[in-house]
Amino acid sequence: MIEGKKKSNRAWFLVLPVVAAVAFTAIIPLMTVANYSVQDIFSPDNRLFVGLEFFRSVMTDDRILDAFQRNLLFSLQVLSIEIPLGILIARMMPRSGWKASAALVVLAIPLIIPWNVIGTTWKIFARGDIGLGGYVANLFFDYNYTNDPTDAWATVLLMDVWHWTPLVALLVYSGLRSIPQAYYQAASIDGASGWSIFRFVELPKLKRVLMIALLLRFMDSFMIYTEPFVVTGGGPGESTTMLSILLSTIAIGQFDLGTAGAFSLIYFLIIQVLSFIFFTVLTLDTRQGATKKISRRKK
Amino acid sequence: MTLELKNVSLHDGVEQLVLDLNAKFETGMNILLGPTLAGKTTTMRLIAGLMKPDEGEITLNGQDLSKVEVRNRSVAFVYQQFINYPSFSVFDNIASPLRVAKDKMSKSDIKDRVEEVAELLGLTPFLQRKPSALSGGQQQRVAIARALSRKSDVVLLDEPLANLDYKLREQLREELQNIFSDSDSVVIYSTAEPAESMYFSVPTFVMNEGQIIQRGSALDIYQTPESIFSAKAVSDPPINLLSAKHEDNSLSLAGAVFKRAEIQDALAHASEFTLGIQPHDLHQEKIQNAVEITGVVQLAEVTGSSTFVHVRLKSNEDLVVELDGAHPMNPGIEYTIYFDPARIYAFDNQTKKTLGFPERLVANG
């Protein structure tokens, strides 16, 4: 969004194809979901308007509330591990030369593996009998993610950290690389220690990138489905049933349209709120110009 | 060929009048001179059609341009930040207007024209290179070559040398002088540097806050500015302006009282006015019947061929004295200044119009 743009509503013609494509793939489905959430459907021609009845039941359904808390806990744990670890890795990465390119490629490998294959990889890797991870774990304590809920939870958590920490590291790394060399020179002239270089030079410059990493990771982990589904199928019991897994069982599994519709809308609404915060951060002028933008508007 | 702007006006948002122009630009080079934000670029964007005026008409040889789309106006535009097509070679850059033009030229004609223009701007050795591989000066030459390749009726140059270092500016100015002196299209060259308008000594239009406030040769405007704004626009370093009083035909300023040989009648009834004096009319050695004022040196700026001494007078007003040669000085020392009262300008405090100026010493060259 750069300054000095021409005002012209003719631009709508350029945007129409996107609006059409996204409308077909998003608006129509959302309308049907809304439709389901307010009616009790026995058969295609026999519907009964029930108003917010499904929404009330979803809000009070223990299974859904448990899944919500579980997913929230999962997201918070994921953030508390991945953000600091990502920063640590980013700071250790080589900054220039071929080593930097090699580091970027190796670090990005987990990000390009299909999510289900991540699940499959960890499913094999964490099995006690045929997986190296499972085998080593069993040397220290009896570990079996298929029937022990805490083991399952730990495996899913470790898998997500393994899968997404590289993204945090890459985001922080791109933030670090944009810091002009003069800042480091000035810091060494001032005799600053490694820690104060991080705290006073690097951290202030990483505010925006860290916000992006935080929100991106929170939303993605809050919508996670494939990896835990492949490894534990949500089990044992419902110990690793995340919101998306529960929603897909209610919707496709039980075909309970009303609950699934209401549940989907509430879920979508939560993500909308988070997306708005993310939008403001994303379009924040990279030169921390937000204040400038506001002041300019006042003139 | 004449390009005429008839009471072209532009409002920003709702009320504030940004531009109100009446001007006639003839074939050959014309200088549009004015401080930054005077509206020079906006005027050019209106001529090129990139912006539409709220009212008024822009005609080229009588033909109203507003009907003609930007693409089909025979206009070339050179930006201040040397914009070229980065993915094209220098050759393709210069050739692109010819290739997209309606009246198709043959491949060989295009090739000859490009080589001819490249030769003119010393770009022949770089024709196959990408613009990004060239220096700033060369990139601007590519932009100028592209503007010339199509022989358009109007050529607009928006402060083309502003981003170049000053030695390169001198060199390119010389080249532009040769290229445009006998051009048969209307060339409008905008600049904020008075020295450039003096250098080209072609019809000059002084702009200030969206209006053309004076036109004529740069020298005339320099010697007989119609207002304080014209005076400021054409003098570099800017003309010194001091508040002065006038009682029973003697003038006083910053603690000095002096007689002015003959007080031009316009000045007679102005009790308070702004006195203008060019930096090079101030001297540090005594000259005959000189007025003397003292102050403290803030800084002596040495540019090599001349030195600008910034002085703060007792009346807390600042003054710049221009000396020839290199005279470094330490800030803080006492400094006496002499000037010949015949060399002063006078401006009305309210209307900012000129009340008096030094007699014309040089017959019109």
Binding site: I189, S196 | D165, T303
Partner: protein, 359 residues
């Protein structure tokens, strides 16, 4: 506080094939202000980075007050540096910014307060001490980043790396005068890098003109202007630059296109030379040489006569009151002390124009 001595310092970024900085040896006296002036790519920044410790030179040694600091890291070199843009810790107030270097060096608290107050007063920062630097005007921000260097006692040298680059036009002038005043207040040796000649000539006592990695002349602004030692200095300093006329020497006299025009002040072997004279030192004189005026450029303040001297372009700078017309043939001569003869770009002697008896 420090005399900086360079001994055969040179630097190559590609292991010795090309040299960004050719071998130079020089001494920078304590307390003086030096400017490194030259177009981009002339090696001035490389030299500055060698002094600051960012680059360890591939050849030669550097001594500060006799101590070899060639391979010492930046933090152990007692220097302050101001960069092309204000380098500040935005999360700290101006006061905290100034305290930072002292805190890192474990200086006792009340000593820090005293030093900060003293520097703040010297740089007129006292009222802004509790503001966030990000809010200040860009020239004040540069002053704060400079203050961070000066807070440390007995700073050996202050390095300026084109500090006015991002300063907007009207506050550029105020920052220049403040830096000039500062130079008189502190005794630190100052090294100022710039490509703008006005900045170099205004700021420094000694200006070192560099080109293609080589120091070609060091001197005061008058010396550079009045007696350039290299054709580049003649061209680069002053606007318009020096005229250069190809001439040849017959051992005893100087000829231009076969006609004797004068003699050299020192013995010159036969061969080709360049006669260099600034437009300001070409003056109308009946005993001079005939030149055809091609174009009169009236700058209001003075006039520039674009002339031809037997086929060579020559510019003369004359007062605004004398009247000239293009096409006229007039006689001009050269000021002897200010006309020089150059051989492959280096000055070899001054030139004494022959005064022809006007017939």
């Amino acid at each position: 506080m420090a005399e900086i001595r360079l001994e055969n310092v040179a630097h190559s970024y590609d292991g010795g094939e090309t040299f960004a900085l050719k071998e130079t040896s020089m001494v920078w006296e304590d307390g003086k202000a030096y400017a490194l002036l030259g177009p981009s790519g002339c090696g001035k920044t490389t030299l500055l980075n060698i002094i600051s410790g960012l680059i360890i030179p591939s050849h030669g040694k550097i001594f500060v007050d006799g101590v070899d600091i060639t391979e010492k890291p930046t933090e152990e070199r007692n220097i302050a540096q101001v960069f092309q843009f204000p380098v500040l810790y935005d999360t700290m107030t101006v006061r905290k910014n100034l305290e930072f270097p002292l805190k890192n060096r474990k200086v006792p608290a009340e000593e820090i307060q005293k030093k900060v107050a003293e520097i703040a007063d010297m740089l007129d920062l006292t009222e802004m001490l509790d503001k966030r630097p990000g809010k200040l005007r860009s020239d004040l921000q540069q002053i704060v980043s400079l203050g961070r260097g000066l807070v440390r006692d007995s700073v050996a040298a202050i390095l300026f790396d084109e500090p006015l680059t991002v300063i907007d036009q009207n506050s550029k002038w105020t920052l220049r005068s403040r830096l000039k005043k500062l130079h008189l207040q502190t005794e630190a040796t100052i090294v100022y890098v710039t490509h703008d000649q006005t900045e170099a000539l205004t700021f420094a006592d000694h200006v070192l003109v560099m080109k293609d990695g080589e120091l070609i002349q060091a001197g005061t602004s008058e010396e550079l202007y009045l007696s350039p030692a290299h054709e580049f200095v003649g061209y680069f300093i002053g606007s318009p630059g020096m005229n250069f006329i190809p001439v040849s020497s017959t051992g005893s006299s100087i000829t231009h296109k076969g006609e004797t025009i004068g003699t050299a002040s020192s013995e010159l072997g036969a061969g080709d030379y360049n006669l260099g004279v600034r437009p300001e030192f070409v003056f109308p004189s009946d005993a001079g040489f005939e030149m055809e005026i091609m174009r009169v450029e009236n700058r209001g303040v003075y006039q520039l006569l674009h002339m031809e001297f037997d086929g060579n372009p020559l510019i003369a700078k004359v007062g605004e009151s004398d009247v000239y017309k293009s096409g006229e043939i007039k006689k001009f001569s050269f000021n002897p002390e200010r006309s020089f003869l150059f051989q492959d770009k280096r000055v070899v002697s001054t030139f004494e124009p022959k005064t022809r008896v006007s017939n």
